[in-house]
């Protein structure tokens, strides 16, 4: 693996972690289980979709932009995952 590819991977990982932490600051979960689910979803989404988001917004190719794209994706994923969990929770059969 060359240095540039490694730097890109590190930027995406760093962005995902930063985005997840920021989302946690703004919208804390209600339980530990929700925290784990949302964190895993956000970290994976940030890492996987950072390139797509960067290209969609036409941001230049640099480690800063990749880090920002990872953070934005992770934050959005946190909020989306939270909404999905709430919707599924609302449809639970009442005992």
């Amino acid at each position: 693996m060359d240095i540039a590819a490694l730097a890109a991977l590190l930027a995406k990982a760093g962005g995902s972690i930063a985005g997840t932490i920021l989302a946690l600051v703004f919208l804390p979960p209600k339980s530990l289980a929700e925290f784990v689910t949302r964190s895993v979803f956000s970290l994976l989404s940030g890492f996987i979709f950072a390139d797509v988001v960067r290209e969609y917004f036409k941001w230049i190719e640099s480690w800063q932009m990749l880090l920002a794209a990872g953070a934005v994706t992770a934050m959005l994923s946190w909020f989306i995952m939270g909404s999905i969990v709430r919707v599924i929770g609302a449809w639970k059969p009442k005992e």
Binding site: V25, E34, F57, M65, A68
Partner: protein, 167 residues
């Protein structure tokens, strides 16, 4: 140090004196002051990504407030610090040219100052209400104009943090 920095530190000292009988409030004011001093020193040193560092300091304070808050007013301070963090993120995004808008450094600094002053006013106000015993008076006089605010001063937070056992 600029006149604004000195004014803010004087404000923090006054808030500490008003809350002398509430160690938790004194702790939050000291933490806010440390946040302000650290981010200002970093900025003045001319180091890169100063707004990211300021955001990091704000996020640390936010975590401390979220996990350490026991009463409702502390969560209001937490909301104000969230606003401060949002301002830092926004300015970082502008500086990185992620957003196609311009925002001057004066505007950014003024917004952060406003957030800091609101925090100090809130903590100082809570201390003042407790000093004059207004929350007790408000409980006796339902027509009191500060009733709604005063009633929540010493009220426990509605929901614990997610790592603690919920009530």
């Amino acid at each position: 140090m600029s006149v604004f920095d000195i004014a803010l530190l004087i404000g923090a000292t006054v808030a500490i004196f008003l809350n002398w009988q509430t160690p938790r409030a004194v702790g939050w004011v000291v933490l806010l002051a440390l946040d302000f001093i650290a981010s200002t020193l970093y900025w003045r040193a001319g180091l890169p990504y100063a707004e990211a560092f300021a955001g990091f300091c704000d996020a640390t304070v936010c975590f401390a407030l979220y996990f350490g808050a026991k009463e409702r007013w502390e969560l209001w301070v937490w909301r104000l610090m969230q606003a401060s963090l949002a301002i830092n993120i926004f300015y970082l995004a502008v500086n990185l040219r992620l957003l196609r808008i311009e925002i001057s450094q004066d505007t950014y600094s003024s917004l952060l100052e406003a957030a800091n002053w609101l925090c100090l006013l809130l903590i100082g106000g809570v201390g003042m209400l407790q000093l004059i015993g207004a929350e007790n008076a408000a409980a006796r006089e339902p027509w009191n104009r500060v009733r709604r605010f005063a009633r929540t001063v010493r009220e426990a937070r509605a929901r614990n943090h997610f790592l603690a056992k919920q009530r």
